[in-house]
């Protein structure tokens, strides 16, 4: 076995895994050479540990972000169903409310109708009486303008009947 210490180039070969068996064997038994290799490996291990910790933490936060971005699609199906259900409920509510209001209107109209008939009965009666008086006055006081044509119209009617 070559007992000479590893050169810097050989240390690098060893770190890259390209060292010959002889040199690898020396590195295992020589504390000084092994120290050089281990020192670099230790620094790399620290770096890898820290960088993976950082990356993992970053990735976890990204996962939450991604979940936030991706859930809209999943939620969108839920959202569609929810919206559809809500729409049905709203429509049913509107229809129900409309019918209820219609009933209320009818009830109000009926009630108001009753109020009119009972409240203004006297006025209606007086109006009717006045209209009857007017009719009577018209019938008795002046002859109808069509009165002069009564004979003619009767003849016309007769003639018409003859013609037919």
């Amino acid at each position: 076995m070559n007992t000479e210490h590893l050169s810097e180039a050989e240390v690098e070969e060893a770190l890259l895994g390209f060292a010959s068996d002889d040199r690898t064997q020396h590195a295992k038994t020589c504390a000084a050479c092994r120290g050089k290799i281990d020192d670099f490996k230790e620094t790399m291990a620290l770096f890898n540990e820290a960088s993976m910790g950082w990356s993992q933490a970053k990735s976890n936060s990204l996962s939450r972000d991604l979940a936030g971005h991706r859930t809209p699609f999943r939620v969108s199906m839920t959202f569609v169903w929810s919206s559809a259900s809500a729409a049905v409920l709203i429509i049913a509510g509107i229809v129900g409310l409309g019918m209820h209001q219609h009933e209320q209107t009818l009830t109000a109209a009926t009630a108001s109708g009753r109020q009119v008939s009972s409240g203004d009965a006297n006025e209606i009666a007086s109006d009717n009486a006045m209209l009857q008086e007017i009719d009577a006055a018209i019938n008795t006081s002046e002859p109808s303008p069509a009165e002069v044509y009564r004979t003619t119209s009767a003849n016309t009617s007769h003639t018409g009947s003859v013609r037919n």
Binding site: E12, L46, F47, A50, W54
Partner: protein
């Protein structure tokens, strides 16, 4: 890659690509780290990682299982990184480093089970120092360095992911490692 999610056979890997949730859960942290440390821009890295996973999922029919899912994903991510680096917008923001990675934030994730506060501080400083050094590498050197020493990919996998010949990968690795060790040594 030594361990982790890549050891699957073809059937398993195809199902991994089919399930986007599983794909994200399994590969995003590793992919995010790779893209972030290749680009040095965590915001852009997030976008690229999302695009990578989506592209991989959409292109799953074309995945023949000849490489691992990890290599497949890394390859897609690399293409997106290269596309991004070509854009004018990237160059503009790169100048201002508006969304540069906060390395102290990364270093804060060093395990807290160190023997003392001083050991903890030294560990954090080492992480910060290494990141600063990695940043000085060329894009190719940085990419292969991160793949090799952070993602623990072997040379063949790096070659497949980057499209570089194996010898080119080795050359970049040698240069990158030499530069990193030299700068780390100089700072210690």
């Amino acid at each position: 890659m030594k361990a982790g999610p890549d050891a699957g056979v073809r059937g398993r890997t195809i199902s991994e690509l089919d399930d986007i949730d599983e794909l994200v859960k399994t590969y995003r942290p590793r992919l995010l780290r790779f893209v972030t440390f290749s680009l040095g821009d965590p915001d852009m890295a997030e976008t690229i990682v999302q695009d990578t996973l989506l592209k991989a999922h959409n292109a799953r029919a074309n995945f023949r299982g000849e490489s691992s899912v990890n290599t497949f994903l890394t390859s897609i991510a690399l293409n997106l990184i290269r596309d991004q680096q070509r854009t004018q917008k990237f160059r503009f923001w790169k100048q201002f480093r508006a969304t540069a990675l906060d390395v102290t934030d990364v270093a804060s994730f060093v395990a807290t089970d160190k023997s003392s506060a001083e050991a903890q501080l030294i560990a954090k400083e080492k992480v910060q120092r290494l990141y600063t050094v990695i940043e000085t590498l060329s894009i190719n050197q940085r990419t292969v360095f991160v793949m090799k020493f952070t993602d623990e990919m072997d040379v063949q996998q790096i070659s497949e992911a980057t499209g570089m010949p194996v010898n080119t990968v080795k050359t970049h690795l040698h240069r990158a490692l030499k530069a990193v060790r030299r700068q780390l040594g100089a700072s210690q």
